[in-house]
């Protein structure tokens, strides 16, 4: 059981983690998600007593980490697989850690077998591949056979077989009644592994709930509707009818419509009533990734932009074919840039304020009109940023 209460960490003027409170319970795999720089690793380091919180506290089984009588026997952690002395062999590295906690040397050979490194025990870890290093880190975490396990990006660099192994390992550890806390960027992996999610953005709690509830609460399942391309009038007609019936309609670039707030059968009935033929009527289920992107889009610090190579391009030579393409007029897309995942974006995030929302049914989101979408995604939600700075 890990319990954080009002955890805050400031580095000078920058607040890495602000007023974070959560519990990680035994018996389930708890996923820890957040965009880059959202404070995941800082939180992990504070749990392990490596960084001292500016205010608030975090305890493991009721004790601060640094006061545990024999920490590795209660908490195992993989923070950074590269945090080993490369000149030391795998076995000596683990042996030095085992001796720190009075763990018998037999256990070292045991965990080396568990992670599949039994053939390279004498090799210096400098020569290890990313995946082998990761396995060594996992071995170190398992060494003390602890009740609480923390893993920061455990599947980094692992091959598919290794990923499957880690997934099953996490589930097995949790099934044995241990507390398993895993951070990862791989949403598909989290959807398969985790039972519970803690999501942070800009150092603050965004969500703390079971995975299923998280997906249903943070995504809008939508229906894709396509009318015959040959009769553009039908599209306008259907849009009007659907909007009138209470659905939200967004048009996609290829002419299809995204409809939220109406069940498929109702859309079909309305189309029939309006005498509009349909070429496509398909349900679109949101994935964990979409739900996650929806929730965190306002809290992303590092966003990539197009690499235009603008200053490297030769000025276009008239009449000369080749690289110097004539400037193309930029056609604004009909659908907002980040709109490839479930629209419409949430007007406000109800989970930023209340960490434990009611077990809401996948209610149709009361969203702003689609035209508000682009500005919405560029703006930082004020309630998550202002008081953090």
């Amino acid at each position: 059981m890990i319990e954080a209460v009002g955890l805050t960490k400031r580095y000078g003027a920058k607040t890495a983690v602000y007023n974070l409170s959560f519990q990680v319970r035994p018996g389930v795999v708890t996923g820890f998600l957040g965009p880059n720089g959202s404070g995941k690793s800082t939180t992990m380091r504070m749990i392990l007593g490596l960084d001292a919180p500016t205010s608030g506290r975090v305890t493991i089984g009721g004790h601060p980490f640094r006061q545990l009588p024999n920490a590795p026997r209660q908490v195992g952690a993989l923070l950074d697989a590269k945090a080993v002395h490369g000149g030391r062999s795998a076995r000596n590295h683990l042996l030095s850690l085992a001796q720190l906690a009075g763990i018998p040397a037999r256990r070292v050979d045991e965990v080396l077998g568990v992670v599949g490194l039994q053939d390279v025990t004498k090799r210096r870890s400098k020569g290890f591949s990313l995946g082998m290093g990761q396995r060594l880190g996992i071995a170190a975490a398992l060494l003390g056979d602890p009740q609480v396990l923390l893993f920061d990006e455990p599947v980094n660099g692992l091959d598919p077989e290794g990923i499957l192994w880690v997934r099953n390992l996490m589930k097995k550890l949790a099934a044995e009644g241990r507390t398993v806390f895993v951070s990862s960027h791989l949403m598909s992996e989290m959807a398969l592994t985790a039972d519970h999610l803690i999501v942070i953005g800009r150092g603050q709690l965004l969500a703390d709930m079971p995975v299923k509830q998280f997906i249903s609460a943070n995504s809008a399942d939508f229906a894709r509707v396509r009318t015959p391309d040959t009769e553009p009038g039908q599209r306008e007609k259907l849009s009007g009818v659907l909007a009138e019936a209470g659905g939200q309609v967004l048009s996609e670039t290829d002419g299809a419509l995204r409809v939220t707030g109406l069940p498929l059968s109702r859309i079909s009935d309305l189309a029939h009533g309006a005498d509009v033929r349909l070429w496509e009527l398909s349900p679109h289920q949101a994935s964990l990734e979409e739900a996650y992107m929806r929730l965190t889009q306002g809290a992303v610090d590092y966003r990539s932009s197009d690499d235009k190579l603008a200053h490297l391009q030769a000025p276009p030579q008239p009449g000369q074919p080749g690289y110097g393409l004539p400037p193309q007029p930029v056609v604004p897309a009909d659908v907002p840039q980040q709109g490839w995942y479930a629209p419409p974006p949430p007007g406000q995030n109800p989970y930023a304020a209340a960490p434990q929302p009611p077990a809401a049914a996948p209610a149709p989101p009361q969203a702003p009109p689609p035209s508000a979408a682009p500005q919405q995604s560029l703006q930082k939600p004020s309630d998550t940023t202002e008081d953090a700075r």
């Binding site: 490596l50 950074d80 001796q99 763990i103 170190a140």
Partner: protein, 278 residues
């Protein structure tokens, strides 16, 4: 993925109990761990090997030259010849002392170590003890071998028991404490190259600076630098009287001065390591 909502009543904290018996960890565990660490990296073998080589080759070489010249040592015994091997060897000890802690910072191993042992004072104490004993033992053996050879080769006054003690136990202690000072600086600076540079500077610069202080106004400073620079202290260790001028430490006092300086550095390392984020 089968987690029902709401979450089922969780099992009590510590739902899992390990079959391996849990006991409190103590300093003895940390000592064993640090011994494993220091013996399992090549830098230890390289630095200590170089140190032994320098002490032997230079110590015996100087003795051979002195013997060839007729062994006119004045009233002194042959033991102070050991100094010439000690000086270059101390650079190896400085390097090893710094690396003992700064290599953990350089590789990130310190985070793994402090996760496995949250008591930072225990880690530093274990490092200091293991490092001290290792360097002390190795230096003691080599210094004794070199001193015996020097006394046998060079015709000079027969050394007294006190002189023997200072040239072996004293020299070994001096080297080990100099290493502890380096370890303290390594823990403060947390960067191998930086800390080694600082220590080489501390070792050599005062003497070099003093060499060029010709102005009479700087006479006092020059004398202080000559007296208290590390190489001068090493020479002082071998003689019963202050070797430069009338004041300044002589014999064991040279070692005690260094112990004081090292205590300050290591004390600072304890305080900072405990309060700093890793």
């Amino acid at each position: 993925m089968t987690a029902p909502t709401p979450t089922p009543t969780p099992p009590p904290p510590y739902g899992y109990v390990s079959p391996i018996p849990v006991r409190r960890a103590h300093l003895g565990d940390a000592l064993a761990s640090e011994w494993t660490k220091i013996r399992s990296v090549r830098s230890t073998v390289w630095t200590l090997g170089t140190m032994v080589l320098l002490m032997l080759v230079i110590g015996l070489g100087v003795a051979a030259i002195a013997a060839g010249e007729g062994g006119n040592m004045g009233e002194e015994s042959a033991l102070p010849l050991g100094f010439f091997g000690m000086l270059p060897a101390s650079i190896c000890v400085i390097t090893l002392g710094v690396l003992t802690i700064s290599s953990e910072y350089g590789t990130g191993m310190i985070r793994t170590t402090l996760t496995a042992c949250p008591s930072r004072a225990r880690v530093l104490t274990a490092k200091a003890i293991v490092f001290f004993l290792l360097v002390f033992t190795v230096t003691l053996v080599v210094a004794f071998v070199v001193a015996t050879a020097q006394v046998a080769m060079v015709e000079a006054a027969e050394p007294t028991g006190a002189e023997w003690a200072r040239a072996t136990v004293g020299a070994a202690g001096f080297m080990a404490v100099l290493g502890l000072l380096s370890m303290g600086v390594g823990a403060l600076v947390r960067h191998s190259a930086g800390a080694i540079t600082v220590m080489i500077g501390v070792l050599l610069l005062p003497l070099v600076a003093a060499l060029f202080m010709f102005a009479p106004a700087l006479k006092g400073v020059q004398e202080a630098l000559f007296t208290y620079s590390v190489p001068s202290q090493m020479i002082a260790l071998y003689s019963a009287q202050p070797p430069f001028g009338d004041s300044g430490p002589a014999g064991w006092e040279a070692l005690f001065t260094l112990v004081g300086v090292a205590a300050v550095a290591v004390g600072g390392a304890y305080a900072l390591l405990n309060s700093r984020d890793v």
